[in-house]
């Protein structure tokens, strides 16, 4: 599955930069993940096996059988396509970065979303963008379309819209998740009632995690909140950290209650780690399948 340099060049000519980055991130993660190696319904070739009595004669692969004296049946890999609904927070608060962060939070969220979609599509799953077209996408072309839909997505609020989600689909919500907990609780509960299982990923800027300011600072919100004047920021840093920890603890509790996963990602960390976490969280658990 290695994307050769030549292929990457061809891709780069066609794909927007974000998608290229997503492909690259996905490629590094795909090295360590293995798919379902089982015979079943699907399009991909899996193996030839000798024709056995009871097999349908129509399943004989005549091209292969003509090379030898025996008859062979062509078997395909088992493909159980599952729909994964993806969403990232597109609100104004995501379009922000501090000086310590390399990218805005929304850029990191979209990168992760696309990279995850790329991995899933390679694995044969179907993906859908919550808020995008109400159709699931599959195949290599799916990533292009997903990226296209992502780019056209209007600026939305802090929580996913009430779009229809297929039953038993998996849901991945990526955002800063700084909204009040009960709001998040309502959304997760609604999705879990479909039923759908899923994963919450909180993307935070390092400044949001650490509050690294000093002195007398007037803070202004990005989504028309009132501003607040902190006379000495260093004095409230611990209180802020406590509040953030409480928020994350609440998020974890909501996720656990719904049977979902929850993870936190800082934009100054490498996206690969977060992607690997997401992917393994979505991968079939032993015994569950």
């Amino acid at each position: 599955m290695t994307v050769s340099a030549r292929r990457a060049e061809a891709l780069g000519a066609r794909l927007p930069p974000l998608q290229v980055a997503a492909e690259r991130v996905a490629a590094t993660v795909a090295q360590g993940v293995h798919g379902r190696r089982r015979v079943g319904q699907g399009d991909s070739f899996w193996q030839y096996r000798p024709f056995l009595a009871g097999d349908d004669a129509a399943r004989i692969d005549w091209r292969q059988s003509a090379r030898t004296d025996r008859h062979y049946v062509r078997e395909t890999e088992w493909e159980a396509a599952q729909t994964v609904c993806l969403w990232r927070d597109g609100s104004a608060s995501m379009r922000w970065r501090s000086r310590a962060a390399p990218v805005e939070k929304i850029a990191r969220a979209e990168l992760l979303l696309l990279a995850l979609a790329s991995l899933l599509l390679r694995g044969g799953e179907r993906v859908r963008l919550i808020g995008g077209a109400p159709r699931s996408l599959s195949g290599r072309v799916g990533l292009d379309r997903l990226a296209d839909q992502l780019a056209r997505l209007p600026e939305s609020g802090g929580m996913p819209p009430e779009a229809p989600v297929p039953r038993h689909a998996r849901v991945v919500l990526i955002g800063d998740l700084l909204a009040p907990l009960d709001e998040i609780q309502r959304t997760v509960a609604r999705l879990a009632a479909v039923p759908a299982s899923g994963h919450l990923l909180q993307v935070l800027d390092p400044a949001e995690a650490l509050l690294p300011y000093q002195g007398r600072v007037r803070f202004e919100g990005l989504e028309r909140e009132a501003d607040t004047l902190i006379p000495r920021v260093e004095g409230v840093r611990d209180a802020y950290a406590a509040r953030l920890a409480a928020q994350q603890k609440g998020l974890a509790a909501i996720a656990t209650a719904a049977g979902w996963g929850f993870a936190v990602h800082h934009t100054d960390h490498a996206p690969e780690a977060a992607l690997l976490g997401l992917y393994t969280a979505l991968a079939p658990q032993g015994g569950r399948r």
């Binding site: 919100g221 902190i230 004095g235 409230v236």
Partner: protein, 904 residues
């Protein structure tokens, strides 16, 4: 230091209030956008210490505010005391010659007075005490006007080369009596009318007088011509300390020929400085100048009166007189010729021209018109010098007894006296020492001089007084008598060696020179002439000669000798070149006397201290700078201004402040080293088309030369004479473009040096043989451009010339055109190894050589043909070879002769 508006300083009292205000106002917070603001709502720090402005920022702001306040109070450094009185102020400035030596100090002092009047808000009227030069009008005070309008008038003032007119100034001051105050920048000299002037000044109101302790003016009086020296006379107001002064004697080209020093004793006004110069140098003097600050009073112009003394020679027997070693005039000529202008002729022709001394050697003056003419000349100042001799002695003996010769200083006894000889007991007599009243006094009498014969004077009571030299036995040898303005001198012996050895000794030369120097000069003789002499050059107040002012009027020679300097008659040169007269300031100047103090006036030195300096601009600028720093610091405290941006701003400030240095730091591309490759060069004309053709032509030629010969030429180089170093290029192609600007001095120098050191310039007028259709006007342009070039004499280029044989054998030298001559240095000139430094032609060779990018020849030859172009290229090859090898091929020219010689 004073403050012009001191009440502003009251605002300093508000500074503590400002301090308090600044102190309780916390600094503006940073503003930070923060998405997780919801988590911050309601958070309070455990301890709330109020944010304070840092003390150093506070101090910075307080300092800036204090600077602004002090600056607005307009402090003035080195300010003079305020002027007494109120109302309009009369500023009286002495601008006669006496103010010139320290004129700039006086102007600074007057300007300081204006500063003070401006601060006090007083209008000022200006009165200059010397008559104005434009209309020679008496001094008139201007109307009182604001200081700003008066300043240009003050700065336009220049010292005048004549004295101040105190009487007229006093009259101009009288209407101002009691109206305000006065400030007087004085030259410190009293002069006529001082009392009324001082009274009028004091009547105005409070007076401030700016003057020095002693007046610095020094006046050089016309020198006195003495026998062997010129005595310069210097006058000044008596000073309390002895001072050393120096006078420079300068020639017409302003070179100093002599410098004499003298010490003026304390309390004395006049000193005499004898200038001892050989007559030949003394005759070249044109002015005497007091060393030190220039002024018209320190300059005396010398004219013919102090210089030329033509001497006429006349002998009784004109034919015998010229015989070497025995003639009457031979020794006179030898003695006088080096020093004076000698004229020989008959009496009428000698007296028809200006003449200072007339020497009659053994010439009997016949009664009648000749004697009358001579007597008249002597009466008007001529010096008649007569030598005795056989004719004079005989003349006395024969017919003159009843008609005494009026032109002899003493009555002569008949006959002569012989001393020594075969029939006499007496010995030839030596000379006695010269009496002190004699002009010969001080001359050393050589012991070997012996007088063997002389004529004798009839003894009378006046003989001793009339005698300037006598023999050891007391008989007069030289006698003299004055006749009117002139003088008659008689040597009682001959001017040759017949009667005495005197003519053989050096003493004779010295005596003659003293006598000539004694003469009044030619001026005294021709003064009766009534011709009016127009001013030619006049001095300004600093003693610098210039064209005469409009008001200067012509004078007769007699008036010039006695005229006082005034606007109508400024000191300077008058009259035509042949009879130039000088009018000097010192001729009729009243003696210099220091002025007594003006009654009731406050006195200040002229140059008290440094001029006033306004501090306000500097203080306000410093405050602005501090506020700018404060702005940067505030921005930084609010987090809007990062360290990196600060560095950027600092760099930007530096870049703005040091634009010149910044530009010099820009690296310029290194020029290709012309020393590494041989290049043809062409002079950039500025006409892009011509330069393009020439460049293409030299490219084509270089290419042709590289293909056909062993020479390896690089790309042709454009050069600008005077800017480019020409020493690397063997050949310079110079197309002449009509209307080119004149060559600069540096360009001429560079081209001449190029030619002198072996370079060759090919000058192409680009019209030769074209039938005037091309490049009209280039001949005139060439004539103009080559004006200062050291172009040697030229001759047409012939097939025998080295240039026609240096590579190809050529008979004609076509370029784009054909048929005109090409000019090179004449073959006779051996400079530069016979290599012609310049080749001038008009065949537009560059156009014939030119190739374009495809290697084709873009310019057709006229009349045309491939042959002409080939010949053009061959001429080019010959040219390059000539430039590179010089006359190496010159032997080729002589091969027929060498072969012929070898054959023999």
């Amino acid at each position: 230091m004073i403050f012009a508006t001191p009440w502003v300083l009251l605002a300093l009292a508000a500074l503590p209030l400002l301090w308090w205000l600044l102190r309780i106002t916390p600094p503006s917070p940073h503003t930070v956008a923060f998405p997780a603001i919801r988590l911050l709502f309601g958070l309070t720090a455990p301890e709330e210490t109020p944010a304070r402005t840092p003390w150093w920022l506070l101090a910075l702001r307080m300092l800036a505010a204090a600077l602004v306040i002090v600056g607005l109070a307009r402090p003035v450094l080195d300010a003079g005391a305020s002027l007494a009185g109120g109302g309009p102020l009369v500023l009286v400035v002495d601008d006669g010659w006496a103010a010139a030596p320290d004129w700039s100090r006086r102007m600074a002092a007057a300007s300081g007075v204006l500063d003070r009047a401006e601060r006090a808000g007083r209008d000022v009227a200006l009165l200059t005490t010397a008559p104005s030069e434009a209309d020679a009008a008496s001094p008139v005070a201007s109307v009182a006007m604001p200081v700003a309008e008066l300043r240009p008038r003050l700065s336009a003032l220049r010292p005048k080369p004549w004295p101040v007119d105190r009487t007229a100034a006093a009259a101009a001051l009288r209407p101002w009596a009691g109206r305000g105050g006065a400030a007087y920048v004085a030259d410190g000299l009293a002069g006529p009318g001082w009392d009324s002037f001082a009274a009028a000044l004091a009547a105005i109101g409070p007076v401030t007088v700016l003057r020095d302790e002693v007046p610095p003016a020094r006046l050089l009086l016309p020198p006195r011509a003495e026998v062997d020296r010129l005595v310069a006379r210097l006058q000044q107001a008596p000073r309390p300390l002895p001072e050393t002064v120096a006078v420079l004697a300068q020639s017409g080209d302003a070179r100093t020929l002599a410098r004499v020093e003298a010490t003026i004793p304390a309390g004395t006004g006049t000193v005499e400085l004898p200038i001892l110069l050989p007559p030949e140098l003394r005759n070249r003097l044109s002015r005497l100048v007091v060393e030190g600050p220039p002024s018209a009073g320190g300059v005396v112009l010398l004219d013919e009166r102090w210089r030329r003394r033509p001497v006429g020679l006349l002998a009784g027997d004109a034919v015998a007189a010229a015989i070497p070693l025995s003639g009457m005039l031979y020794y006179l000529r030898r003695a006088l010729d080096p020093y004076v202008e000698l004229r020989v002729g008959d009496l009428a022709s000698l007296l028809s021209r200006e003449i200072s001394v007339l020497i009659l050697a053994d010439h009997v003056v016949a009664a009648g018109p000749e004697a009358a003419m001579l007597a008249n000349w002597v009466e008007k100042g001529g010096l008649l010098l007569r030598f005795a001799g056989p004719r004079v002695a005989q003349g006395r003996a024969s017919d003159m007894a009843e008609q005494p010769d009026a032109l002899l200083p003493v009555t002569l006894l008949a006959g002569d006296r012989q001393l020594g000889g075969a029939m006499s007991w007496s010995q030839p007599a030596g000379l006695d020492d010269f009496p002190p009243n004699s002009p010969f006094a001080g001359l050393k009498v050589p012991a070997e001089v012996r007088v063997t014969r002389q004529v004798l004077a009839q003894p009378d009571a006046h003989l001793a007084a009339a005698t300037w030299a006598r023999l050891a036995d007391g008989t007069p040898l030289v006698t003299q008598a004055t006749r009117g303005l002139g003088r008659v001198v008689l040597f009682h012996t001959t001017a040759n060696a017949d009667w005495s050895d005197l003519a053989l000794s050096g003493l004779f030369v010295d005596m003659l020179r003293r006598l000539v120097a004694l003469s009044a000069g030619i001026s005294g003789i021709t003064e009766a002439d009534g011709t009016r002499l127009a001013p030619v050059e006049t001095l300004d107040g600093f003693g610098v000669a210039g064209p005469p002012q409009a008001a200067a009027a012509a004078l007769t020679a007699g008036e010039i000798a006695t005229a006082a300097a005034s606007p109508r008659h400024p000191p300077g040169l008058y009259g035509p070149e042949s009879g130039r007269r000088t009018l000097n300031l010192g001729t009729r100047h009243p003696p210099l006397v220091a002025a007594p103090p003006v009654p009731g006036a406050r006195e200040e030195p002229v140059a008290g201290a440094a001029p006033e300096r306004l501090l306000a601009p500097w203080l306000l600028a410093a405050a602005l700078a501090l506020l700018a720093i404060d702005l940067l610091l505030s921005l930084r405290l609010r987090g809007l201004f990062r360290a990196r941006a600060g560095a950027g701003a600092a760099v930007l400030l530096l870049a703005v402040a040091l634009p010149a240095q910044a530009q010099t730091l820009l690296p310029s591309p290194p020029p290709p080293n012309p020393a590494l490759v041989t290049q043809l060069a062409y002079v950039v004309t500025g006409d892009a088309q011509v330069d393009g053709i020439v460049r293409a032509g030299l490219l084509g030629l270089s290419d042709y030369v590289n293909r056909r010969t062993n020479a390896a030429l690089g790309e042709p180089a454009p050069v600008t004479p005077g800017e480019t170093d020409l020493s690397f290029y063997p050949l310079l192609y110079w197309p002449i473009v009509p209307g080119s600007p004149k060559l600069s001095g540096a360009a001429v120098t560079a081209l001449n040096a190029f030619m002198a050191h072996g370079g060759i310039i090919l000058i192409d007028t680009r019209n030769g043989g074209s039938g005037e259709g091309f490049n009209a006007g280039s001949e005139a342009a060439l004539a103009q451009l080559a004006q200062n070039l050291a172009v040697p004499p030229l001759a047409p280029l012939t097939p025998q010339h080295v240039l026609a044989r240096s590579f190809y054998l050529l008979h004609d030298f076509p370029g784009r055109f054909d048929g005109d001559d090409v000019w090179v240095q004449r073959a006779q000139d051996r400079t530069n190894d016979s290599v012609s430094p310049v080749i001038i032609g008009g065949h537009d060779w560059a156009a014939a050589w030119a190739i374009d990018a495809q290697g084709r020849n873009p310019y057709a030859t006229l009349p045309g043909g491939a042959r002409q172009r080939t010949l053009a290229y061959r001429f080019g090859v010959n040219l390059v070879m000539y430039a590179l090898t010089g006359n190496y091929k010159g032997d080729q020219v002589h091969i027929p002769a060498i072969l012929e010689r070898l054959g023999q």
